[in-house]
């Protein structure tokens, strides 16, 4: 039963992003500013930091692949970036003190890196013509705000769960 807890959490986070954009109250704010929930990336980063690097990368690979196939239909973009970000995060955590605030801060940095990376790819393949200023003020900042709020409310319980799972996995 306990073994299924991490995959279940992964599915929950995967579905939560789509639910979040679909059920968010559709105000002017929603139509004007584009914010993307990056809860899945935050989940993968937390798994990398609090469970193990291998777990983070494997989950990144699987969830990234699912994300590409199900949501964006442009294969490879997230499949490539999620494991890579998990790898870099694991390497970066060696330099920092392992503390919740540090992890949250790192998550915010990686969320913006992912935004820039996806923006670059979208520009490159010609799916968007959004100028940089517009991207910066109408997309990047709202996205960071939404994800910061998410971290504010959910980072502590998420950490507690993952630490428990890690302890269980070590005992195995």
């Amino acid at each position: 039963m306990k073994k299924l807890f991490l995959p279940f959490l992964a599915i929950l986070f995967f579905v939560s992003e789509s639910l979040f954009v679909d059920l968010w109250p559709k105000s002017i704010w929603y139509e004007h500013y584009i914010f993307a929930p990056r809860f899945l990336l935050i989940f993968i980063l937390f798994v990398t930091v609090y469970v193990t690097q291998t777990h983070g990368m494997v989950y990144g690979l699987i969830l990234g692949g699912l994300y590409d196939v199900v949501y964006t239909e442009i294969l490879g973009v997230y499949l490539f970036s999620f494991p890579l970000i998990a790898y870099i995060a694991a390497k970066a955590m060696k330099w920092f003190h392992n503390h919740l605030v540090v992890t949250c801060f790192l998550s915010m940095i990686f969320v913006s890196i992912l935004e820039f990376y996806v923006y670059g790819i979208q520009l490159f393949i010609g799916k968007t013509a959004m100028p940089f200023e517009q991207f910066y003020s109408y997309r990047l900042l709202p996205t960071l705000l939404v994800n910061a709020l998410f971290l504010l409310f959910f980072s502590y319980p998420l950490k507690q769960w993952l630490v428990k799972i890690e302890r269980y996995e070590r005992e195995e």
């Binding site: 579905v15 993307a36 949501y71 964006t72 239909e73 442009i74 490879g76 799916k127």
Partner: protein, 287 residues
């Protein structure tokens, strides 16, 4: 596994970059159909999404209802005023419908571009990265959904089917229209209709671009824009929106109009996939 990454990580990185470029290239190709593995993954996750989406929708719906109750009195007043108009319109529609049928019978013309078979579907997901506005619905090829079919809500056209897998399909919303995808449309005017093409979407104005209008055509604000059915896939007469502003085109040879969409692209819960009756008849004949 970590040992493996340490030794050959640079090579692995380069190989995966090549792999990434190849995959992106593969998925950007104009594909008629998704591969079976993609379809399988989509259908499976579609089922999981459906399980999560229903209860979440209920909860969200409750809060929306509370909001609605606040506006009830105002809306009720307005609706009462319009009710009388409605009765008159209804009577007119009935007589027109009957007349149309009779005339069709005289001409012995059974199918029209207007008729369609509705396939009702529920939205079970939305693209969270929001670069392309797409939604996922819970009907697929098994229920008769095919690529490029029109998708509407009661208020108007919202998009078309981008890819259909067996039990789910992806809808590309009009706000994500790319340049290759055009919709043949016309404006309902006083002196006959004016034809043109819907090409693209203006993010800032939140309006569709209605292009290729002849320069001497008379178009005014508030006129209705409908699908013409000439593009070969959509039925005729689905409302798209109303004209907001008319401006000369870049080259000054034709005119362009900004069209305010009739349907709300953001608040989409239940949709109808539209299958043209003419196509259905032809399919049966070829069988």
């Amino acid at each position: 596994m970590p040992q493996f990454f340490l030794n050959k990580r640079l090579i692995l990185l380069l190989v995966s970059i090549i792999f990434l470029v190849a995959l992106i290239g593969f998925s950007l190709k104009e594909r008629k159909e998704l591969t079976w593995s993609e379809q399988f993954v989509k259908d499976t996750t579609g089922f999981v999404q459906f399980l999560f989406h229903q209860p979440a929708q209920l909860v969200a719906g409750f809060f929306e209802n509370v909001q609605d109750i606040k506006n009830t009195y105002k809306e009720n007043k307005l609706l009462k005023a319009r009710l009388e108009e409605y009765v008159m319109l209804e009577a007119e529609v009935q007589t027109l419908k009957k007349e149309n049928e009779e005339l069709r019978a005289v001409l012995d013309k059974k199918e029209s571009l207007r008729d369609f078979i509705p396939i009702e579907a529920t939205v079970i997901g939305r693209n969270p990265d929001r670069w392309q506005e797409t939604v996922i619905i819970n009907k697929g090829e098994q229920q008769g959904v095919k690529k490029d079919m029109a998708v509407i809500t009661p208020s108007g056209l919202i998009g078309k089917i981008q890819h259909a897998s067996q039990f789910t399909s992806t809808v590309q919303l009009l706000s994500a229209l790319d340049r290759q995808n055009r919709i043949s449309a016309y404006v309902q005017g006083q002196e006959g209709s004016v034809f043109g093409l819907i090409e693209g979407y203006d993010d800032k104005r939140q309006a569709l671009l209605f292009k290729q209008i002849p320069f001497d055509a008379k178009i005014e604000k508030k006129q209705l824009v409908l699908t013409s059915g000439l593009g070969g896939i959509f039925p005729k007469g689905l409302p798209i929106g109303e004209v907001e502003e008319v401006v000369p085109d870049e080259y000054g040879l034709t005119k362009m109009a900004y069209v305010k969409p009739a349907a709300n692209f953001y608040d989409v819960d239940d949709v109808i996939v539209v299958k043209r009756k003419i196509d259905a008849v032809q399919e049966e004949e070829t069988k």
